[in-house]
């Protein structure tokens, strides 16, 4: 079964979720080819070529793919599809945008957000915010699959695949890129971070979020997350949201501060290795999944926590 995996990248660096999705792709079959569609993205292709088990990297380098708009990227994937039995991508905003378009053009029912490859045509995936796990078998001739990368270990480096240039497909000319604002941050990315510090509604304001949550994250070298309630209230940007409809994460350590633990939030973080919860309501559902719970007011606990961590880290 030949598998085409879409690389996640920003034209300059390969995103780490690609190596995790590769683990799922390799479990479905071989050979695995990785598609890098971008502009001036040679360095990305070189990084993908180093991943173990990749047979070939396809580099489609064209202004058409600079921002990976759904319409031209779907056209490219459909043009490559005849050579593959499965098209796979990580469950990122970019792949979630384009892959269902590809699936419909191929008349395939996509399998979204898989957490396990049971067989090349059979997968486990969460439904109802992870409150149930469905095992589904795809009877379509081709498979189109997105991968919940938090559920798969990263494939290590160790390969040296050939890089083959592929030409651009035709331009459907349906939409144009206007602008992009990507927040510059020295913090690790949410989906790749080993530690995540998350704040909820109890934080109280955008200012308090910046004053309490972010410095603690920085003290731990952590990424910053937020509950939907905190995002809804405008305390944190949308792409920090952890939960059913935001990011799904599984770090070594997840610190939930002032988060009550609605099922939609738990859906996004309950696979973390160690969960710490601080909440002043001792009945908060977050304590039912926390390894270490501390009942207290985050306004006093967070500064203490920061001081104590500084002591430990010396």
């Amino acid at each position: 079964m030949a598998v085409l995996l879409i690389a996640e990248h920003d034209n300059s660096a390969l995103n780490g979720v690609t190596a995790k999705a590769l683990t799922a792709a390799a479990a479905m079959g071989s050979p695995v080819h990785v598609l890098v569609a971008g502009q001036n993205a040679k360095a990305v292709a070189e990084a993908a070529a180093k991943l173990s088990g990749v047979e070939k990297v396809l580099l489609a380098d064209d202004t058409l793919y600079a921002h990976r708009l759904a319409e031209p990227l779907a056209a490219l994937l459909v043009s490559l599809a005849p050579g593959y039995d499965a098209i796979v991508g990580p469950s990122t905003a970019s792949a979630k945008n384009v892959l269902p378009r590809v699936a419909a053009l191929l008349d395939v029912m996509q399998v979204s957000d898989i957490i396990k490859v049971v067989a090349p045509d059979t997968f486990e995936r969460p439904i109802y915010a992870g409150n149930a796990i469905q095992t589904v078998k795809s009877n379509d001739a081709k498979k189109v699959v997105t991968v919940r990368t938090a559920s798969f270990a990263a494939t290590p480096e160790g390969g040296s695949a050939a890089i083959e240039t592929v030409g651009a497909a035709s331009d459907p000319a349906l939409s144009t890129f206007v602008e992009e604002s990507i927040a510059a941050s020295d913090r690790p990315e949410l989906t790749a971070a080993k530690i995540i510090v998350s704040g909820g509604r109890a934080v109280g304001s955008r200012e308090k979020f910046a004053e309490l949550i972010e410095p603690l994250a920085d003290a731990l070298g952590a990424a910053v997350g937020a509950s939907r309630a905190a995002v809804d209230a405008g305390y944190a940007p949308n792409d920090w949201q952890v939960g059913q409809t935001g990011k799904v994460v599984a770090p070594e350590l997840y610190v939930a501060l002032g988060i009550s633990g609605a099922i939609q939030h738990l859906a996004g973080m309950k696979d973390s290795k160690v969960i710490v919860a601080v909440n002043k309501d001792e009945e908060a559902p977050i304590f039912q999944v926390a390894d270490y719970g501390l009942v207290g007011d985050i306004n006093t606990v967070i500064p203490e926590l920061k001081a104590e961590i500084a002591k430990v880290k010396g």
Binding site: A104, P126, V178
Partner: protein
């Protein structure tokens, strides 16, 4: 310009679903059902565009059992002008929904279709993109801002790490994200008025669509549980445990 808004009847946001003991699915009997939250945002956005004079009519469409007419009534009570119920029992996958919606678009010729980005039951996040593909229309998923201009739309999208703005040419598909708007509650007079608004009944066969599922559900199971741990008494104890017991800092 007409705006078409597909709405899905799903288990209410606040209900914690239970897996059936025989593994055949989740328990849906006597469970509170509501409109998918992202679809409420889609209805609201369509209504705001109509109120701003950018649209002439808002049509809600639902694909599902007879009770999906209640979901349509909710949309009508919010302010949609009329409804279309495509009646079918059993599971309808996003690909089949997209095919039916393509048929509806063919009849109604809307300038914009606004959908929720994801239904909170199957968590698929596919229908809008699939409909755009089948129609050959541009798509802007995960929208946080929609500006309708002459012959198209300017849409700001939530992407990993920030925001992206696209210009869509001609009729287009938009799927809603959380921050696009805050949906209104239907007032009592509007709920009464909604009872008189028309709902047309159709079937998938009217659009020539076969809704037989492509995915075979072999099993539905409870997720692996997670046990509650311990409560600690102080910050110092917490940090000591994280360092010595868990070894994570």
């Amino acid at each position: 310009m007409k705006i078409l808004v597909p709405v899905k009847r799903v288990v209410d946001y606040n209900v914690k679903v239970r897996v059936k003991s025989d593994g055949s699915g989740v328990e849906l009997a006597n469970v509170k059902m509501s409109m998918n939250p992202f679809d409420e945002i889609a209805v609201e956005e369509a209504l705001r565009l109509k109120e701003a004079g950018k649209a002439t009519e808002v049509i809600a469409v639902s694909i599902g059992p007879a009770q999906a007419s209640e979901t349509l009534r909710t949309a009508l009570a919010m302010g949609a002008d009329r409804g279309i119920l495509v009646k079918t029992d059993g599971v309808v996958e996003p690909l089949a929904v997209a095919k039916i919606l393509k048929g509806v678009v063919g009849e109604e010729a809307p300038g914009l279709v606004i959908l929720g980005k994801q239904a909170i039951d199957d968590d698929c996040n596919q229908t809008g993109q699939m409909l755009a593909a089948l129609l050959g229309w541009p798509q802007a998923t995960f929208a946080s801002k929609v500006v309708v201009e002459d012959g198209g739309a300017l849409v700001t999208r939530e992407i990993d790490g920030g925001l992206q703005t696209l210009k869509l040419n001609g009729p287009a598909i938009v799927t809603t994200d959380l921050r696009l708007n805050e949906p209104r509650y239907a007032s009592l007079p509007n709920i009464m008025k909604a009872k008189k608004k028309p709902i047309a009944e159709k079937t998938p066969a009217d659009y020539g669509v076969d809704v037989a599922p492509r995915l075979e559900v072999l099993k539905t199971a409870e997720p692996a549980g997670r046990k509650a741990g311990v409560k600690v008494g102080s910050v110092a104890e917490l940090v000591a445990k994280l360092k010595d017991e868990a070894g994570v800092i």
